[in-house]
Structure formats: C-alpha cells, structure tokens
Amino acid sequence: MKTKLILFVLCIMIAAPATLNAQTFKTAGDYMQNIGDEYEKIKNDIWDYTNAVARGKGARKIENKRKELIKTVGEAKKKIAKMPDFEGNLVFRDTVVSCLQLNYYVLSEDFAKIVNMEEVSEQSYDAMEAYLLAKEIANEKLDMASERVKAQQGVFAADHNITLINEKDKISQKLEKAGPVFNYYNRIYLIYFKCYKQEAYMLEALQKVDMNAVEQNKNALISVCAETQKKLDTLKPFKGDGSLKTSCKKTVDFYKKEAEEKVPIQVDFYLKKENFDKKKAAIDSKSQSERTQKDVDEFNAAVKEFNDAVNKFNAVNNELNQTRTQLLNEWNQNVQNFLDKHVPKKG
C-alpha cells in the first residue's frame, strides 16, 4: 500500500508556493509569509513521510507519518482560513484554503467528497478500478487547484509589488529528485498490481471451486499478462536500473504460465473428482449382490485414476505456492532496494 500514499505526496509538492523575497509593502509580505510558513511545515512532513517509505520503515511508522501529514495539512487549512482579508482581498487566501481542503480529502482518501462516486462505480469493473479511477480524477482536480494557487499567488504578488524568487532549499531539492523515482515506481506498480489482483480473483474462485469464475478469471489473467508483457518490453530502466522491470516481468511470466499450463490441471482435477464421487455414490447404492465384476473393475480403475489426479494436483499446488511466495518476496525486496537507492537520503 506504499504506492498510493506517495502519489498524494507528489500532488502536494506541486501546490507548494515558491519562497519569496519581499521587496516592499512589508504587510503584504507578512501575509504571504504567514501562508508560506504553513506550507513549510507541510513540506517537512512530506519529506519525513517520503523518507519513511523510501527507507522501508515499518508499516506502522509509515502510517503514523501519513497521519501526521494529514493533521498538518488540516491545521494549516484552519489557520489560513482564520486569516483576515488583505486590503479587502480574500481571493488568494480562499484559493489556498480550497486547495488545502482538496489535499486533505485526497490524503484521507475521502474521494466521495471530490468525485461523483456513482459515476465512477458505473465505469469501473471492480472496487480496485473504482479506487484508481477516483484517485485519478481527484488528482486531476488537485492539479487544477494547485495551478489556481500558483496563479493567485502571482496576482497577489504583482498587486503588492512583491517579487517571487524560485529558490529551493535542501528539502525541496530532495523532494524534486524523489518525484521521478516514485513516478517510475508507480508506473510499474500499477501494471504489476493489475496482474496481481487478477490472479487473486482466480485463486479465490479456485478456493470456492467455482469453475465458472475460475475459467473466466484465468482467461482474463492470460489477457492482462500479455498486455503487461508488451508494456514492459517498451519500458526503459530507471537511470540504468532495470531491477523493478525485471522483477515485475518475472512475476507476470509466472502468472501467465500458471494460467495457461497449471490451472487447467487444477480444473481437470475438480471435474474428475466430481465424476469420481458420482461413480462411487452409484456403486455404493447397489447392494453387494447387485455389483458385477465389471462394476468392481471399473471402480478400481477409477480409484487409481483419481489418486493419480490427486497427486498431480497436490504437486502443482505446492509448486505454485512456493514460486508465488518467492516471487512476491523478491518483488518487495526489489522495491525497497530501488527506493532506497534512488530517493535522496535524509541529512
């Protein structure tokens, strides 16, 4: 779940106003500085959070950092909302408050407050697609809000003869470097996750012995893996680092082989099992005197065939479970290594 958090961080970064160097009109400068101070706190929390994700800190620590960030944004919004107008002008303040409110909703994943969830739901195949679509729409709205803040900042500065200087401190520079790293990671993660999720649906159906769902999801998995393999073929490594791409490809190749070669064995087993159970019930319903030698021979042959099918099924299951676990661990390790390597260190 690291990915979706990082996306929100990037959106906030876009909204952060440039530092300023007040030239005249100290009071207007103080006004802008007050807003800038709140953004400074947000930026520091973003960096703490980004760093926690990149260094593979525990899930609880990352979640705590995320909550701190949300709290900081909320408090900043309240503080700025309490600021009076400046010479009768509330537009700049209100634009900033509105943007921070959107940030707050996006960070809290309260998409229903930003997006028409009914429409999103109708256009989506499942809850995960709905979530991704809602997030995409929310981020678009956030981008537009950020642009409005930038524009109003410019207008306010111009109106009060303030020159804005784009000077980035160390944290801003590091956040700027971290951006493309997370963009790359998110791109691969989304295509990885689509295959991962589709396999999960197929496994769920197998557990329920819902042959209808197994076959449908198996065929869907084959399609989505083929699409993903094409996308990965055109994806370049990140600054020469192809570890994520390779790890993703290995996993997707595994899913495709699983769907094409192994799942049919499992499905076959369930069909054979059902037939065997029916055969057994038919023979059991005959009294000893009614059973012919042919019945006995047929049944014994069926038992042997069924036992062979059971052994094959168990062998396939074990192989798949082992490989799946191994690949998942590899993927998680590769993600951690990638982020640790490319996201600038703290200090």
């Binding site: 739901s121 109708e122 059902e274």
Partner: protein, 521 residues
C-alpha cells in the same frame, strides 16, 4: 355408449366425492384451507406473481429451484383399475434402501407423522401426488400390498434427494460439425453450497467437458425455463461476455441499481445459439436479453413470456429474525410466507421486455403452444416502463442475423414437417376459437377422436427420423453411465428426445451456418 355409461357414471361420482372429501376435514383444517385460499387471492390481486405461501407450499416452490429436495424416493402411477402402483424408486433413496418397497406394489394408504391416515382407494392420481409431497413431517408410514399379496406397513424418513429435472448434462451433436447442446430447465441454486453456487457453475462445468471434445459451437436450450435465481442468470451471461454492465433493476423510491458481470473474462467465446419459446420467462429472459444486447448469441424460437419483474420471499411475520430462521427452517412457528414483486428489470439500453417478451432473431412456429400464455394476458400484470438512463458498454461485433434468418426460413419452407406444423397450428387455432363441445355421443366421440388424431400427428411430426446429427455423451458422462444404470436410463431417454426434436435440428443447422459465416469455412 350404453356400454360405457355405467362406468362413466361411477367415475364421475367418484370424482365428485373426492372433491367433497377434500373439504370434509377437521374444522381447524377447513378454516386454514379457506384462509390460505383467501390470502393467496389477495396477494395475486396485486400482480400475477405475488403469492401467499403456507410453509409446505414454500418448501415445494423452493425445491423446484434447487438441485435437491425432500422426498421419500418413490413415484406412483394409476393402473387401469384405478389402483395406485409404485412405478419408480429413486436409487439410494429412502424407499429404495428400505428393501421393502418394489415397483408394482399397490399403495393402500399413507400416514404422515402427526396426521390421520389417508386412504388412496378414493383418490385420483393428482391428489395422490399432492399427498406424497413431503411437508413438515419427519416420516411417513406407507401401507401397501406387494405383488405376492402380502400387506405391510413401512416407515420412511424423508431425505434430500437430487431433483432429476435440475440435473444438467451436456451432449454432443455430431453431424457435419460438432456442437455442444445443453438444456437448462430453470435457474436453480445448489442448496448446501457455501458459496451460493448454482446452475451457472453447473453449465460452466458441462461446457468445460464439451470443450475437451473440440466442439465448434454451443446450443443452450432455454425453452420451458420459467426462470429462478437472477444471480445465476447474470453469472451465466458472464460466462459468454468479457465484462461490462448486464442490466438494471428498479425498486420503489430507489435509484436504478446497476448489475454487472462479476468476473472479468469469458469461459466460452465461440458461436452460440439460444433456444427460447413462450414458456421462457423471467431469469431466462434476462439471460436472452443480455446476450442479445451484446450481439453474443443468435436467439431462435418463439416470443418469450414477457415477465421482467423480480420477487422476494419473506416471512409474513416481520418480527421473525432472519438469522434464526436460516438456522432452524423447520421451526413450526414460521409457517406463513409471502412472495412479493419488488423490482422491475431493464436492459443496458434502459428498455424493459415486461409484457412484451424477447423477440427471437429467427422465429419458428411452435406447435406445442397454440394455447399461448403470456404475461400480457393478465389484466393486473405490471405495465412496462422505461428508464431514462443509458449505460456504456461494448457489444461484440454484429451477428449475420439477416443471412441466418433467410437460410432458416428457406429450410423451414422446404421442410414437410414444418409445413405440416403450420397447417396443424392453423387448424388448432381455428378450433380453439370454437367454445362449444358436442354432448351427443356420436358427435362427441368424433370430436374426441379428431383431437386424439391431431395429437398423434403432432407426436409423429416431432419425431424427427431424419436428424442430421448423432447425439452422443461427452467422455465424463460416458464414464459415469458405465456403472450407473439409473443415470443411463435418464440419459438414453434424453438422447432420444434431442434427436427427435425438429426445433433442435433447426437450431443445429443455424449454428452450422453461423460457424461457416463467422469462420468462413
């Protein structure tokens, strides 16, 4: 006529006494019977599908939608002398396992737990069927006389047995092309299934078995399918459709509810023909509607029934805890239920087939329903509505329906059987308009003889000896019938019916056309 008059008078008197005897019961039972009739009339006054159920009626209704139902495991038939004889015993069932009941035994009476004895000597076959239907009792004592004149009473405990009508089987139709054929009697659910799996899963398994035989197309027969579980209909549509919205439903004072395919991907994406007729209703119409909207199947047959409403069954007593009910369905306090129409169904285009039915792409005259019955004939049936909402969906490419219909029409025109079907159908329709029956003996026997002759002609017309395909089992079924004689009997009878059916023949030929046109070979 004098020869038959005395016997006919005795028979008529027996029937009249049976009718009276039905009402000559204890006061409590009489009042219950009367209130049941009144409450059911009240429910059905709202619309034809709302109903009142006493618990045994509910059990009977639900068993028709299940793959298993309570039964004592034997059937009876009426002999020429009016005796009730045991005809079939369900293998492995309670009667079978008792070892005391055999085909040909004469059933004298039954006595259910907590009830008085019911003498079968004065009952007609319909009443006997009614009496043998399990109710809330746990057991029934059956008194019979065996074929070697021994009178005995056997206690049978009721058990859940397979409902034979709801057992699915996929067959191979092998002619110039190899096709799969599956008849789906209704949209049943599987009781005892933890994951609410039902007929969609069963059809999926049969298709998987047929695919192993390298079929080139499938015929799914929904004739006489009166509906059932809507969830099963959606799941079944999902087998053939990759993903997308399936349909919408509306309930009072609520926004339209969108129903989607829950599983991405398809199980079968090859040529598909669906057979429907006037008795295809409700969930079966939903399936046909979805496959039609998506250009996924060719629909062949006659206009379907036209029921696009959904019903719910709930206890009449709203204070009943549904959880407690589920864990103890035998609770005697839960005896009254009501089936209420609570939803109307719409296609992805916002259109309903309520009171209209699904129009087939290829129309075949159906000799079996000259006495057609449609939803639209009920004066209190809900009127069709429309929904001002369109959904985004991606249908399959258009099917070559015009060409397929032209080919079918040519074959039908050239077929002496279908020509004869039309002639008989026309004359039956004419006869149906005449509301009088002669009572003068000679005229009546002539009238009755004509009717019998027409039925014989229909039977022979529908006995297609020139079928262009052989009907075979898939390898799984073949394996099973090698040890299961009872199943073999059922399957052999079914194979014969399929081969004789001129409508399946025409569906098969349409499927071949579809395969040839779409694959260009």
């Amino acid at each position: 006529w004098q020869k038959y008059e005395a016997e006919a008078r005795t028979q008529a008197a027996r029937i009249a006494r049976q009718q009276i005897r039905k009402w000559k019961v204890e006061k409590e039972d009489f009042e219950k019977k009367l209130s049941d009739i009144y409450l059911n009339s009240l429910a059905s006054a709202f619309d034809p599908h709302s109903a009142y159920f006493a618990s045994e009626d509910k059990e009977s209704f639900l068993s028709n939608l299940s793959t298993s139902a309570f039964s004592y495991g034997f059937y009876v038939k009426e002999s020429d002398e009016g005796s009730m004889l045991v005809s079939i015993l369900t293998p492995g069932g309670p009667a079978w396992r008792s070892g005391e009941i055999h085909s040909g035994d004469k059933v004298i009476s039954i006595q259910k737990e907590g009830k008085t004895e019911t003498d079968f000597s004065s009952l007609g076959i319909e009443e006997v069927y009614e009496q043998l239907m399990p109710g809330n009792e746990k057991y029934m004592d059956v008194t019979l006389i065996s074929s070697n004149d021994i009178k005995k009473t056997i206690r049978l405990k009721k058990e859940k047995l397979k409902v034979e009508e709801n057992i699915l089987q996929g067959y191979l139709l092998e002619g110039s092309r190899k096709a799969g054929y599956i008849a789906l009697p209704d949209f049943f659910v599987q009781e005892g299934s933890n994951w609410m799996l039902g007929c969609a899963n069963e059809v999926a398994k049969e298709i998987l078995k047929l695919k192993k035989e390298n079929i080139e197309g499938i015929i799914l027969d929904l004739r006489y399918n009166g509906g059932g579980s809507l969830k099963e209909a959606i799941d079944l549509a999902g087998l053939f459709i990759n993903e997308g919205p399936m349909m919408m439903s509306t309930e009072r004072n609520q926004k339209p509810h969108l129903i989607k395919d829950l599983n991405r991907g398809t199980l079968y994406d090859g040529p598909l023909v669906i057979m429907i007729n006037n008795y295809t209703a409700s969930a079966a119409e939903v399936l046909s509607m979805i496959l039609k909207d998506y250009n996924r199947a060719v629909i062949i047959g006659t206009q379907s029934y036209g029921k696009a409403t959904g019903q719910n069954i709930s206890p009449l007593d709203l204070s009943i805890d549904p959880v407690a009910y589920k864990t103890d369905p035998q609770n005697k306090s839960l005896t009254k239920f009501v089936k209420i129409t609570n939803a109307t169904l719409f296609s992805v285009k916002g259109v309903t087939y309520q009171k209209k039915g699904i129009t087939p792409d290829i129309v075949l005259l159906d000799i079996n329903n000259t006495q057609q019955s449609y939803e639209s004939q009920y004066p209190n049936a809900l009127s069709p509505d429309s929904l001002n909402k369109k959904l985004l969906y991606t249908p399959c490419p258009n099917l070559p329906l015009k060409e397929l219909a032209e080919n079918s029409n040519k074959r039908v025109e050239q077929s002496w059987r279908f020509r004869r079907v039309k002639e008989i159908s026309d004359s039956l329709q004419k006869a149906g308009k005449i509301k009088t029956v002669p009572i003068e003996w000679k005229s009546f026997t002539k009238w009755n003889k004509n009717a019998d002759e027409v039925m014989d002609q229909i039977d022979s017309l529908l006995n297609n000896k020139e079928a262009s395909f052989k009907v075979n089992n898939n390898r799984f079924a073949q394996d099973l019938i090698s040890v299961d004689d009872y199943l073999k009997e059922i399957i052999d009878a079914e194979i014969k019916n399929i081969r004789n059916d001129i409508y399946i023949e025409e569906a098969y030929k349409t499927l071949i056309d579809l395969i040839q046109i779409t694959t260009k070979k």
